[in-house]
């Protein structure tokens, strides 16, 4: 082994490569929106059953 592992050559700006998402910002916004939706749904679920 070497004391310094080989460096990753991939650039930080590499696009996500997911259809519909051109940038990482779009992916993060989608995940955040999904999280908000899930919390809203759980709140409604609690109101219905608890």
């Amino acid at each position: 082994m070497t004391s310094t592992p080989p460096r990753d050559k991939q650039p930080d700006t590499e696009p996500p490569g997911v259809p519909g998402f051109g940038t990482w910002r779009a992916v993060y916004l989608f995940v955040f929106g999904w999280f908000v939706l899930v919390v809203i749904l759980l709140t409604l679920f609690t109101a219905m059953y608890a």
Binding site: D8, E14, V31, F32, F35, V38, V39, F45, T46, Y49
Partner: protein, 566 residues
């Protein structure tokens, strides 16, 4: 379990072991410590999920839903937010730093003592947590074979050590993908069987309504009471810091990002986890809540850890408790059915009366379960009185079709071993790189020796975990015990990294003493205050950052490799 289950179980275990051995017969240290560099995003995503959604998740979370309801889902509210931050900030930094362990970065940024402190906090927390997680495979074996938990902990602990030191982190990633798939299939099967076997008078919707009326479906709580364990606020703020610490600074996770093929794949894996985690935990908790309704109608023991119960329940008092429990269950069944009929009658007053009677009957049955635990404790002060982790495995063994029982028990056991392996491998690699190499710098170039040492440290941590499990009692279920341990140590660890990343003017000595003070503060608060444990993540992190700034303003600035000035 019948003969078919045993055949399937043994064949599954042998198959998993053979596959792991075949795929990992040639390993180099770079792979052993950091994982395979060609690991794809799917493997990384599932692997990250598997170390979170391990056998412990499947064993313990249904029990949590059974006992306390589904409010535990709020524990994960901070996770998607934390993963976005990890993807956007932490992960690119780690990739650029190109290190073996997260704590190497602390050494580069600050000094060696801060690196050792960061690694030490990680190892202390993980080592103690390993002593908790060793229970997972032991609980499975104890339930299936009816053996005493203590003996099983030693036997499975030895098996875990052998599995880990002969495999390494590559084997973990390889086998977890398949184990996850089988366990997920098993969970779906268990859920279907549970729904099919719900009481005739209730059905699925009636059972969900009954679970709600019995207080098991309070998923979201906006209370500002700091003593409540799970609220939206503890989840979003405490859970954010807990997840940020776990995914951003815990070597068992960081080793996966630095081992992935590209930054893109690492990020996608984490985003995959961020989207699925809360819905997945909700479904597992719902399974637990429905199990609660199911077991109001199905015969079940007053104490689910049967081996422990049989060991002590010898006199008439225990027989009386069992009889009382059976009678209380019969009353609860009648009360639930009466409430179901009242619910369909459109008579609000009748429904309210029936609901109150149902809740009272259920509370009576729960009180008898508490009485059973107290009786066990009176008979043996060292008795293990938390039985909620046994609820789901009891359901699997007694209710699932033969063959499926064997497959699911084998896979959960293998997954529990893999989870332990991941934990011990991270501990072994951190001890080797951050501690052993620090004191033996000339040995760094000898790959074979490093690998031998890493494996020895992995074995030592395995023995430590077994010893801790045997001698330390804890009153929580597995999933809560692990989260409490994490919350005590992770906040300060995160604080160290946040100072390293963002407060360039703070030097090594300031952050080192600030972290020690912050850790002391958290431990003192934990033992003296009654606040939800998730808050300690935020408190530890904030204390470390604020004290670092304050100490930096007081301490003399000093340049050099031992304390780089900005």
């Amino acid at each position: 379990m019948n003969a078919a289950d045993w055949i399937v179980m043994v064949a599954s275990l042998v198959g998993i072991a053979a596959y792991g051995s075949w795929r990992t017969r040639h390993v180099r240290l770079n792979t052993y410590l950091r994982g395979e560099s060609s690991t794809g995003w799917g493997t990384i995503g599932l692997s990250v999920m598997a170390t979170q959604a391990s056998a412990i998740t499947y064993l313990s979370i249904p029990g949590q839903g059974f006992e306390s309801g589904i409010g535990f889902v709020q524990n994960y509210f901070g996770l998607p937010l934390a993963l976005i931050i990890v993807c956007a900030v932490f992960l690119p930094m780690y990739r650029r730093l190109n290190v073996y362990t997260a704590y190497q970065f602390l050494g580069n940024r600050f000094d060696e003592k801060t690196r050792l402190l960061g690694a030490g906090l990680f190892m202390l927390q993980r080592g103690l947590a390993a002593g908790v997680t060793i229970y997972a495979p032991a609980i499975i074996v104890s339930t299936v074979l009816g053996w005493r938990l203590d003996f099983v902990i030693v036997a499975t602990g030895l098996l875990v050590i052998v599995y880990t030191v002969t495999g390494g982190s590559e084997a973990v990633a390889l086998t977890q993908r398949w184990q996850m798939a089988v366990i997920a299939g098993g969970m779906v099967t268990a859920l279907i069987v549970l729904i099919v076997r719900l009481p005739d008078g209730l059905g699925f919707t009636g059972s969900v309504a009954a679970a709600g009326a019995l207080g098991k479906l309070h998923a979201v709580d906006f209370s500002l009471d700091p003593s409540r364990r799970y609220t939206v606020w503890t989840g979003v703020f405490g859970g954010l810091f807990l997840s940020l610490s776990y995914f951003g600074t815990d070597q068992s996770q960081v080793q996966r990002y630095i081992g992935g093929a590209s930054l893109r794949e690492g990020r996608l894996g984490l985003m995959f986890n961020a989207i699925l985690k809360i819905p997945m935990q909700f479904v597992i908790l719902m399974l637990g809540a429905l199990l609660f309704v199911f077991y109001q109608f199905a015969p079940h023991p007053v104490f689910f850890n049967r081996a422990e119960w049989r060991r002590h329940a010898e006199d008439g008092r225990f027989r009386a408790i069992e009889a009382e429990h059976a009678a209380a269950l019969a009353q609860t069944q009648s009360a639930i059915l009466a409430w179901t009929r009242a619910r369909g009658s459109d008579d609000a007053a009748r429904e309210a009366t029936a609901r109150a009677a149902m809740v009272a009957a259920s509370d009576r049955a729960q009180a008898i379960r508490a009485e059973a635990r107290a009786a066990l404790l009176a008979a043996d002060p060292l008795a293990r009185i938390k039985d909620s982790d046994y609820v789901f495995i009891t359901f699997i063994v007694t209710q699932l079709p033969h063959g499926a029982v064997g497959l699911l028990v084998a896979t959960m056991f293998a997954a529990a071993l893999s989870s332990k392996a991941s934990e011990l491998a991270a501990l072994g690699s951190t001890t080797t790189i951050d501690f052993w190499r620090h004191f033996r710098p000339l040995a760094a170039a000898d790959e074979a020796r490093n690998m031998r040492v890493a494996r020895r440290f992995t074995a030592v941590w395995g023995v430590f975990a077994v010893a801790f499990a045997l001698f330390a009692g804890f009153a929580e279920n597995l999933i809560e015990a692990i989260n409490i341990l994490g919350s005590i140590f992770y906040g300060v660890l995160l604080g160290l990294f946040l100072v390293a990343f963002f407060l360039r003017r703070v030097g090594g000595s300031a952050v080192f003493f600030a972290a020690i003070a912050a850790q002391t503060l958290v431990i003192v608060m934990y033992f003296s205050l009654d606040i939800g444990y998730l808050w300690y993540n935020l408190i530890g992190c904030a204390a470390c950052v604020v004290l670092s700034l304050a100490l930096q303003a007081i301490l003399p600035r000093r340049a050099g490799p031992g304390g780089r000035a900005p």
